[in-house]
Assembly symmetry: C2
Homo-oligomer: 229 residues x 2
Amino acid sequence: MEALLPKFDSVFSIDCVIFGFDKGELKVLLIERNEEPFKDCLALPGYLVEQNESIDFAANRILYELTGLKDIFMEQFYTFGEVNRHPQGRVITVAYYAILRLNATKELKPVTNYAKKAFWHPVANLPELAFDHSQIFAKALQKIKRKITYQPIAFELLPEKFTLSQLQMLYELILNKKLDKRNFRKKMLNFGILKELDEKQKGVSYRAAKLYKFDRRKYGKLFQKELTF
Amino acid sequence: MEALLPKFDSVFSIDCVIFGFDKGELKVLLIERNEEPFKDCLALPGYLVEQNESIDFAANRILYELTGLKDIFMEQFYTFGEVNRHPQGRVITVAYYAILRLNATKELKPVTNYAKKAFWHPVANLPELAFDHSQIFAKALQKIKRKITYQPIAFELLPEKFTLSQLQMLYELILNKKLDKRNFRKKMLNFGILKELDEKQKGVSYRAAKLYKFDRRKYGKLFQKELTF
DNA sequence: ATACTTAGTGTACTTTGTACAATATTAAAG
DNA sequence: CTTTAATATTGTACAAAGTACACTAAGTAT
């Protein structure tokens, strides 16, 4: 049976675009490659899919091996299939993305030696990346810009407890536009997925803001309201 | 150089979900397979990607070879990468979709003998399909339901000149819910992408409705307004 | 002329979006 | 203790969009 499928020198890979948010900056997870081609260059975490693993499984394995991050929920967003993406042959890559809160993150440490190191880099001044990874990144950014307006993915980027100003700052960063404070609060609170806590921000040298958290229970009850800005 | 990439017995394929609309029914393009596995079964048009063609190119070639349809704009929407999708080995498939007007369509005629025939089948009572094609179809349907509300893709399904009632019927079919006639008209006309023609419907045994067409020029000027229902 | 079928239309109400600026609270500095 | 500086918090009026709802108009067939 198996013999009926033709064999090609074709390979699948996975590339991961992982967004994080820290100190007022939107960041993306990069690695420094330790293999040819593009040895020593910066790239998105990515590697080849094994023959006996699903692509979702492979995405998790590869992210772990290259960065040490585990149990991250990633979503597939586009498949890049140009013939000459990879200088050594035909490689089709399925790109995944995720967003996560940085401070909940353990240390970054590649588990294989395909990568020299893994680190967060600000999205704002991203250097040129290996292969077509700059394009892949651009497509991911475009995707989350749209997604953030109808699904509460932004909460994944914040610490568990956050202030409304932090949340607004994050939206402004991702959407790359200024939002009105009063309207933003009205809309967010109305959306009904925030839980107000009896706690305040600490360690700031000005009026402390109330803390909120994302209420996953409430979110479950909505199906898919949209946020529009 | 080429030798550095490992070789796997892994294969890419493309599957196409092509929607059409005819006689008040939403349809999808199927083939009857002429090859093992699933010989004689119904399936989405799909085949293997060649090593030296991009996946977008392959999608068009494959659709043509299996159905005779040419120059259809298809969009990639999901990549299916479970290990056992294909009984003969590892096949990862990139799924594409498109929607088109049926009456502008030439005859369906497979150009290779991988398919015995190609034909339109109503979406309403779709039979079981080969491989995981039923799942692929379901995902495509979900996708266009969402897309139709923010991009005027529905027009691709209608003849060039159409009445508002036909347009409404199509929306109701895809969204699978009843819409208010007055509100639907208000919203559509307001959206500013229809051109009213000096012509009426012909051959109906009741009051003839005005004909409209989709005004691509006007659409270009909007960037991305959303239609919500 | 009548009956039948679909086309075509308007209004009141509700909800949502948007523009806009003053007061309140806290910590730090003096 | 007073002042300053920084950010938090709040409301209102207006505009735009969504929604519910039912009758008349026009053309065809008999």
